[in-house]
Symmetry: C2
Subunit: 298 residues, 2 copies
Amino acid sequence: MDKIMECVPNFSEGRNKEKIEKITDSFRGKNNVKLLNYSGDEDHNRSVITVVGEPESLKAAVIEAIGKAIELIDMTQHHGQHPRMGAVDVVPFIPIKNATMDEAVALSKEVAQEVSERFGLPVFLYEKSASAPYRENLAAVRKGEFEGMAEKITLPEWIPDFGPAKCHPTAGVVAIGARMPLVAYNINLDTDKLDVAQDIARKIRHVSGGYRFVKAMGVELIDRKQVQVSINMTDFTRTALYRVFETVRFEARRYGVNVVGSEIVGLVPMEALIDSAAYYLGLENFSIDQVLEARIME
Amino acid sequence: MDKIMECVPNFSEGRNKEKIEKITDSFRGKNNVKLLNYSGDEDHNRSVITVVGEPESLKAAVIEAIGKAIELIDMTQHHGQHPRMGAVDVVPFIPIKNATMDEAVALSKEVAQEVSERFGLPVFLYEKSASAPYRENLAAVRKGEFEGMAEKITLPEWIPDFGPAKCHPTAGVVAIGARMPLVAYNINLDTDKLDVAQDIARKIRHVSGGYRFVKAMGVELIDRKQVQVSINMTDFTRTALYRVFETVRFEARRYGVNVVGSEIVGLVPMEALIDSAAYYLGLENFSIDQVLEARIME
């Protein structure tokens, strides 16, 4: 695969294994499409599929999966802890290799147009594909959820970007867009005081004055009797992992607290970690092209 | 490519571009073989080619390249600064992905047998493929070089592993074997005193009491007015980059000297750097399978 895009579609079915398999089948046995991971969450009643591929092949497979989900999932019967607005809740495209963000945006719009026409599904473009700043944030788009969407999309400011201004009766609406790879990164502290983790989270996250591409909150790790700064790194190429790690370390010191370790949840692009190694080893004149695997994948 | 081996053959021609290109052509336009790098050194009069591939395809291409080198290079006319004993001086195979060291050893022996039969070339197996411990070290095998080899291989302890106990008239002999990936890693110090770099090199290298998989020496960086501990990491999976970096740092302190940075020369496997990132970030429960590119290559 010369050009690689990633797609991480979220479907509102986390309990019925047979349905999850049928949707996931759209990504199996396809040329230039590789299923990396999929998992259903019973409490959330939601599945997340991680797949990479050549843009055109990936596009066809994603459209097929959306079609199957619309056929199999009835949102009027859906209950789960996670907020959701459609059978296919959200479909982000992520540039991985020899692909730009502009290409990911273009791909998301092509998919949006096709699924709106083929399935009569209203589509909101979000994140980098959004048609207006107030539509960038997924939470803002999804507010009201499936049950409130019938009314919401009749409002002038919430006219869908593609498709009818009318909910699909069983599949609701979908958000499709392009974004940077997300790294779920948690830093663990040797204290059981939740307010320490919450204070540090506030200091590092963008919304309250911290780093531009950091979302963070404090979380209790009950079994470990420790707390965690739970972080979403929304653009590791501009806010680096090591920078956040070192910042949490020096902020923790004022409470007499130490960082005991950190963890990466799920997948992480090679570059996010190699960038941190390059910082700590003080690598001079280093280029990602020196990484054997980067060269093999070229 | 499901299974990937690397091969880094060294040829005794670094000046005649046409000949270098003809040899390198053996690795171009072949299915499941990917030429990563090649370069000729005029002073050394030697070329190094870095290539990866599926074992069987790589084997065929390497044999073809050896044949071309034997045809094009006349060792009776060869002069250069680097020690050498044949037109094809040394051919290491390195397991990269879904391949074991045992498989690399087996592959090296298949190539050794075939080139000895096809071209009448005497072959010494070296490193992990060696038939006796005293033949593991390439420098020991190569001692005497091309000019001394005619006599050396008549000695009972230097009978070749494959082929006749008689030098090829124009191509000499070759060493073929299997080894771990080598990482050329240099650490720079903020002093111009060569003896400081030499002292530290002595402390970290295996031969004088240091780490098992480290070769090191002190080098002057005249232009920078600094010195460097120049290192070959011969198995980064067992002696890690960060461990050597931190050791050089604390050894430098006794001279009031600081590490200013480090550098990787040429290619480095992803895992060598990710392992260092995992150390510095204190990553808990991390697996290389969480790296997106590792999953894509699977």
